[in-house]
Symmetry: C2
Subunit: 356 residues, 2 copies
């Protein structure tokens, strides 16, 4: 049961047959099918109980001597004989040994995502252990001197609860990773550097906050100092002040501190990397809907528009407003306006990614 939702890192070949024996598929009488040749209501065949036939229930093992089961409605007990009024062909109402799975069959390939019926099949075959890919371990490091842990105490002026790390933790777990949420690090290069260095045993590091161009943008600068800063700034709105880099072969992604921008990056970048690392399919749930109002977007930028679904209509909520977290709570999903457009007209069909 622990393997549910995991991905096989090995192919599975069955040692066993399923069923392990010829099995009655109906309540009735096991017979040799050849004995029923010509049987009909007007020309019944009589079989000796215990020698030519035997009473069976669905699921019971059927002795090798018999190759079919006569249903109850086609048979009547007459003292020590069974009156059979229908022909049965070989293997009628009988599940043959190995019919479902034969010993030696390849039943699941490496990369198979284990769902409940898969676990049931493994269990039916007596396979109690399989090898799966490990879940990517993703360190989450929130930064910002103004932040205090969620629920720790009342806010003083100038403070805010650290909620992006919380959101990242919930999504990383949901998407098949192991989130390692760390303490809030103040905006000091030395401390951010230490925080990154102490998480290099994780599979990926997500640093949150301190990414925009300004006096306090420690995250990308620290990344450049420690390893390689590959990208700083992406043409996505919201989500522009995003940075990627590599430190000692580990991917480090820096998310903006604005919650909607952090959300967008979680969906567009973290989810994709995580699903790939976990060998999971990264298809997101989507629905088509008709845009109820014109949306204006910034050319040259991928624009993420929060959407409320109302029947067949996609009602746009906000394009800008990276700080307006409540707009996500109101949204059912989002659309992505391509960078070559200046917007999308009302009445167009749009593909809405549903917020999980």
């Amino acid at each position: 049961m622990d393997a549910l939702g995991r991905v096989l890192s090995e192919s599975i070949v069955s040692d066993a047959n399923l069923p392990q024996f010829n099995r009655a598929a109906m309540d009735g009488f096991a017979v040799r099918s050849s004995d029923t040749r010509g049987a009909s209501p007007t020309n019944p065949v009589f079989l000796r109980i215990g020698r030519d036939c035997i009473s069976v229930r669905t699921g019971m093992a059927v002795n090798d001597g018999y190759d079919a089961v006569v249903m109850l409605e086609d048979a009547t007990l007459r003292e020590d004989r069974l009156e059979v009024t229908a022909v049965v062909h070989p293997f009628r109402n009988l599940s043959r040994i190995g019919e479902d799975v034969a010993a030696g069959d390849l039943i699941m390939n490496e990369g198979h995502h284990l769902r409940p019926p898969d676990i049931a099949l493994l269990a039916a075959l007596g396979i109690s252990k399989v090898t799966v890919y490990s879940k990517p371990r993703i360190a989450i490091i929130p930064t910002g001197g103004e932040l205090i842990p969620v629920g720790s105490r009342e806010l003083e002026p100038g403070e805010a609860y650290e909620i992006n790390g919380l959101m990242a933790e919930l999504y990383i777990e949901k998407w098949g990773g192991v989130p390692l949420r760390r303490c809030i690090v103040p905006d000091e290069s030395r401390l951010i550097r230490q925080a990154i260095e102490s998480e290099l045993d994780a599979d990926m590091i997500v640093l949150i906050g301190g990414t925009s161009v300004g006096e306090k943008d420690y995250a990308p600068r620290t990344l450049a100092d420690l390893g390689q800063l590959l990208v700083h700034g992406v043409r996505i709105q919201p989500g522009k002040p995003t940075a990627f880099g590599i430190v000692e072969d580990k991917v480090v992604i820096c998310l903006p501190g604005y919650p909607v921008a952090a959300f967008v990056d979680l969906y567009l970048f973290i989810r994709a990397v995580l699903k790939k690392m976990a060998h999971l399919d990264d298809a997101v749930p989507k629905v088509n809907a008709i845009l109820s109002r014109k949306v204006v977007s910034r050319p040259g930028y991928l624009s993420i528009v929060r959407i409320k679904i109302e029947g067949e209509a996609a009602v746009p909520l906000m394009t800008s407003g990276a700080g307006i977290l409540s707009s996500l709570a109101k949204a059912d999903g989002f659309i992505i306006v391509p960078e070559e457009l200046e917007g999308i007209e009302a009445g167009q069909t749009v593909e809405v990614t549903l917020i999980e």
Copy 2:
């Protein structure tokens, strides 16, 4: 964090403002916007540091006296003065108190399904507890004298591992219920009766096995004895020997023992009831694909055809074969052929329900 995935049983009104104070949205200098009137690179305005303006960082509280923030690139420090070379309008680069959520705002309605950004918003507002609907508790009672618990020991001839209860448990948990998987009950009316009676404190009872018409069909008969047997037999293939009833106001669903039939019933009946009880949306993930081969079905029956998705193609695996569990492990999903049809031609677009 425990509320993730749960459904609000109350509407949430915020007591707090978000932000709780006017907050700098940029690194720069907080100013009175009126002081910058007419400012330009050729006609700068000079402001007294600490009196007319104050240095701020993104996220910092901005004193009530100031109503905008001048960005760093539009300002230069000249000893005790700040040279400002651009006009800022009121609330420029400033997040106003209550801009995201104002005290008294309805932020989420009863029935809202809590996703990570919703939990983040609640946390940002300092709301650490909400009331959610309880998860439906669903008792699972496998029946059948030939069954032994999964993994307990090697199978003897005529035995099988009890895997339908396992599959039901995994799906009920996945779909938002609390599965209560009980011991295997032998096919004896008295024991099945006792098993049902002792689970009447659950929200629903799922009885597995012993549903087909034959000498051993204890499940529906026991249901009729104890309460009301409403349905016995449905026109679904596989899944015909299904029964529903009510005992002391509790829904009892009897699933066939054949694993594919049990799977079909889990999807078509248990999932629907469970999602409704849990106040959850019961939309299933679906994709459109093109049927690669003709499918023949039995008129008058809803036929469930197991499908493998290969690119754009829906490749049918099996229509019959209620006992062939491996066909589910090979399937990505299934299509439902309506009862008025005798099948579906190759080349038709079909809607494939993806197996979760």
